[in-house]
């Protein structure tokens, strides 16, 4: 229900085509709200019907034509109204947490490689964030409102990754201890 709003924010920050939006959703905005190109095209059509955005067909040479969308006044109004609505309860989907609890009913050691892979991904993302922070916000005191808000969101991403890395180390230590320890009383007698 909020993909519309994420698209609107992205178009306000910079107009673009469905294809370009899809790439943004693979990078910046997509860190906080994922979407496939299919979903984006669908929602763009609906938003255009509703008058939230306007389209301009742009011919390109050497490339297919594209439809460049921009946020329209009704879209801005809708966004302002949305900002004043209560935040919906987030639907949590923390697969790794489920897997860790599941490991109690199987071999905990089997999970270690997956957690390590997961950890590498988060370490890479943290490095990527820190690089982006240095590049886009070198002088935090001279930023305008938009940049300061983008920066505080990025700081959230950075802190999330740091916390996750520390936690994954905790998880790995726990799994390794359980793998090393004698499996005294497997689940057979645990009930």
């Amino acid at each position: 229900m909020a993909l519309e709003h994420a698209i609107l924010v992205s178009l306000l920050e910079q107009p673009g085509s469905g294809y370009e939006l899809a790439r943004r959703f693979d990078r910046s905005i997509g860190r906080f709200w994922t979407a496939t190109h299919q979903q984006i095209y669908k929602v763009l059509r609906r938003m255009e019907t509703d008058g939230w955005i306007s389209v301009e067909e742009v011919a390109q040479d050497g490339r297919p034509d594209k439809k460049v969308y921009s946020a329209a006044a009704p879209g801005r109004t809708a966004l302002a109204a949305w900002l004043r609505e209560p935040v919906e309860a987030e639907t949590v989907r923390h697969e790794l947490a489920v897997r860790i609890r599941a490991a109690a009913f199987d071999d905990p050691a089997a999970l270690i490689p997956e957690v390590e892979r997961h950890r590498e991904g988060h370490a890479a993302l943290l490095a990527h964030y820190l690089y982006g922070e240095g590049r886009d916000f070198p002088a935090p005191d001279t930023l305008d409102a938009r940049q300061r808000l983008q920066h505080v969101v990025l700081r959230g991403g950075i802190e999330y990754e740091r916390m996750t890395l520390a936690w994954l180390d905790d998880v790995l230590a726990t799994l390794r201890e359980l793998a090393a320890a004698p499996p005294a009383g497997t689940e057979a007698d645990a009930d």
Copy 2:
């Protein structure tokens, strides 16, 4: 696609009816994987058809009958196989981050009450987690494998809430500064 596995873990930890599972998903497991009772009933029927779980009708006095489900051997096998699969990329839905970036195109101050409400929710959840930790894991050195894994997941929740609280304070400070500062160059000339 992983609701099956979350239910399976919950049933392995403790057999129960659809109704009981729905309540667990409002409390413990639901912190990491949310589900409504409708979704749970649907998936339970499919899991039973697939032989992952077994049912027992239990008559109660003063209450409607209930169907108590337990994990069956094929379910355990499926869970073990799932544990060895690569972790799917999580679909991120971080609505507040979108809203914060959206605030650049409206009045940042309008977001403050919502962020404060959000912050209170996280503070309450952290307190709840800490209380639960003290109650369920008073002696961390004497725990069996299942409890240690539950504990490490809970520690993840605790660290997540701590990090989120600190970040929300950062967000609030930023929003308040923007609200206090002269809105030099509103969005009108920002494009």
